[in-house]
Amino acid sequence: MIAELGLAALWLAAALCAMQLLAGVLAVAGKGGNLAGLVRPAAIVQGMLALFVLAALIVLFARTDLSVLLVAMNSHSAKPLIFKVAGAWGNHEGSMLLWVTVMGLAGGFVALIDRRLPERTMLATLAAQAFVSLGFYAFLLFSSNPFTRLNPPAIEGAGLNPLLQDLGLAFHPPTLYFGYVGLSVAFSFAVGALVTREVGPLFARAMRPWVLGAWIFLTLGITAGSYWAYYELGWGGWWFWDPVENASLMPWLAATALLHSVGVLASRDALRTWTVMLGVVAFSMSMIGTFLVRSGILTSVHAFAVDPERGAFILVLLAIYIGGALVLFGLNAASIAEGKRFSLVSREGALVVNNVMLSAILAVVLFGTLYPLVTEAFDTRVSVGPPYFNPVGAAFFVPMVLVLMVGPLLRWRQDRLERVGKPLGIVWTALFMTGAILLAATAWIGWLPWIGLMLAAGLAVASWLPLRGRNLRRTPLAVWGMVMAHFGLAVAVAGMASESAFSVEKLVAARAGEQVTVGPWQVQFRGIEPVAGPNWTALEANLTAAYAGSPPVAVQPQARSFWSPPQQTSEAALVTRRFGQLYAVVGEAADGDRWQLRLWWKPFVTLIWLGGVLIALGGLLSLMGRVAFDVRRAFARRRIAMRREDMGR
C-alpha cells in the first residue's frame, strides 16, 4: 500500500511540476492571464509531495518490505536500522529520488520566501526550476521507478554493498546532492535572469544564499569523501584524482568561482554576464559529475551503481539543460547591460584573477578527467593521475593563492598596491622564513610540498589581515566567514604538503612479538585473532603502539570478509596524536607464521580535513551573516512601508 501511495504521489508531483513549467512560461510570455498565480503554489505543493514520496521509500526500507524490488535488491533484514534507512538512498533509484525531493523542496522554499526579485524574473526562475525537475521526474518514472513490486516477494534481501555500510558514507552522497541541487537553484536563477535580462545586485542577492549553501555542502561532502577514502580503502592516500572524486571537485571549483563573482555583483554591480555564465557552468559540472559517477563510463575505484543506459539518460538531460542554457546565453548575453567599471588593482580585479584561475583549474581537471574517454575513441587506453593533475593544477593554484593574500586587503573599485605594502611585508616574511627553515632543517622535500608549505604559511598570516584596524565586535559575520575560509584553505594546504613531504611508510612481514619503528612510533605485533561482527568475520591484528615514549595503545586493523554479498575489505586502524596520525593495515599471511603489516606515520595529515571543515564553517558564518542582514533589511522596509501608509500616502 505504501509503495502504491508513494508512486501515486510521485506522478502527482510530476504533473504539478509540468503545470508549474507551463504556467510559468505562459506568464513570462505575457499570455498567462491568471496562470501566474498558480506558479508559486504549484512549486510549494510539489516540494511537499516529493518529500512525502521520499518518506514512503524510507518507511519501506525501514520495514524491509521485500515485496518491493528495490528493497529486496539493496537491503537485508539483518542490517542495523540506521543502514536500512540510509539504504533508501544508497542505490541508484533512491538517490535520484533524493535528488528530486531536495530539488522540489528547494524550489518550494524559493517560491515561499523570495520576494526580492521582480515578479517576472521570479516566474522565469521557477519555470526553469520546474524544467530541470521535470527531466528528473521523467527519469524516475520511466527508467528508475523505486516502487516496482516484486511478485512473489523475496525471502531475504540481497544486502547492501558492505563498503557502503559505513556511517560516513551513508551521509556522504546526500551531502553532495544538497550541493548539486543548490547549484541547480543557482542555475534556475541564472536562466530566469537571462530570460528577462534583469541581471543586477537584486538578482545576485537572491542567488547568493543558494550558492553559499550549495558550496558549504559541497565542501563538507568532498572533505568527508576524502576522509572516507583515506580510512576505508586502506591505501593510505586521501585523494586519488579518481574520476568520481573529480566529479565532486569540478562543481566545487565552479561554485567557488561563482561564490566570489556573485559577491562582486551583489555589492558592486560588476561582472554581470560572467556571473550568469558561471551559474550555468556550475550546474553543468554537477550534471557531468552525476553522469560520470552513474554511467560508469570511466574506471573508478568508487564505481558502485553503474548502468550505461541510465548514464545515457543523464547525458540527454545534460545536453538539453546545458545546451538550452547556452543557447539562451548566446541570444541574450550581449543585451545584458555592462556593469560598473573598476581598475585592475582593486578588490574586483583580485576577484577576477580568482575567478579566472579557478576556471583554469576547472578546465585542467575537466580535460584530465575526460582525456581517457577521448583517447578511447581512438582505441588507445590511458589513465591520468597525480603526475598530470598535481603540477598542472599547481601552475594555476599558486598564482591564485598569491593574489588571495593581497585581494581582501584591497579597496573596491580602485586602489594602489603601495597602500597595503606594510601588511604584505609581514606575509612575505612568513612565506620566505618558512621556505628558508624548510631548506635548512630538513632534507629536500620536493618542489610542490615546499611551495605548498610556504604558501600555507603566507596565507595563514594573510587571511587574518582583513581584520586589522577593524572593531572586532562590529565586524560583520560575512567578514569573519571570509577570514575563516581563507585560513581554512591555508590549514588544508599545510596538511596536504606535510603529508606528502614528511610521511614515513613501513612495510613488513612480522612474527608475533616483533617490534617495528615508524617515525616516532614503536609498534609491536602481538598476533592475529579471528573476530566476528553482525554480518562479517575478520582477521584482526593485535598491535600495540607507543608514541615517542608515552604508554602504548592498542591498534587493531582488520581484514574483513562480509558474506551478503560476499566481499572483502581492509579496515585500517588509526591513532591520532596532536602532530599526526599512525595508520595501520593488515595484509595476508606471508608464510607460516609471518603477517604482512603496512604502517604509516603521517605528520599533520589531519590538517587536511580540519582545513576543509574550517572552510565550510567560514561559509556558514558568511551565510548566517548575509541571511540575518537580509531579514533585518526586509523588516526595515516593511516598517517604512507601513509608516507611509499610516501617513495616508
Binding site: 554493498n161 586502506g234 554576464t273 560572467w274 560508469g296 570511466l298 574506471t299 575505484v301 564505481a303 555592462e338 567599471r341 573598476f342 581598475s343 585592475l344 588593482v345 577576477v352 575567478n355 579566472v356 584561475m357 576556471s359 583554469a360 583549474i361 578546465a363 585542467v364 580535460f367 584530465g368 582525456y371 581517457p372 583517447t375 588507445t380 587506453r381 590511458v382 589513465s383 591520468v384 593521475g385 603526475p387 598530470y388 603540477p391 598542472v392 594555476f396 580602485q414 594602489r416 612495510l507 613488513v508 612481514a509 581484514a559 554479498p565 560476499p566 566481499q567 572483502q568 575489505t569 581492509s570 593495515v585 595484509g587 595476508e588 606471508a590 608464510d591 609471518r594 604482512q596 603496512r598
Partner: protein, 156 residues
Amino acid sequence: MNTIKAQRIKPKHQRLVLLVIAFVVLIAAGLLAAWALRSQASYFYVPSEILADAPEPDRAVRLGGMVENGSLRTEADGVTIAFVVGDGKARVPVRFTGIVPSLFVEGSGVVAEGKMGADGTFIADNLLAKHDENYVPRELQDMDAHQARQVVSETR
C-alpha cells in the same frame, strides 16, 4: 597611474579586456593541459603489446591481463610477490611490494600500475583487482571481449 588608466578605458573596452585576459589564461590552461596529458598520461598495455613496443623506461604505464595459474610466489622478505601476467599471446613477469588487494588471486584479472624494468620485469607500485564479485576494471572487460577465448584457454 592606474587611476588615470581606469578613467580612460571606455566601458566596452573594459569588458573586452577582461574577456581577452580570461581567454588567454584559459587557452594557456588548455595548452598546458594538452602538453602535460601527452607526456604524463599512463598508457594501458596488455602483455603482447608491452613486449612488442616497450614504453620508455621511466614512463609510468599500466599492464593488464590474467594472473597465470601457478606463477604466484612470495619472496623471502614476506611482502614482495612475483607473478606472471599473460594475455594468451605473451607473458610478462611482474614484481610488487605491498599488500595485495583482497580479490587478487591466480587465474583472475589484474591491472598493475608501474614501470617496465630494464630486465624485462614489470615493477608494479599498485595492483587493481576486481572490487567485488560483479566489478571488473573496464580495461579488462574490454580485453575479455577482444581476447576472451585465448586468455581462457591459456590461463585455465
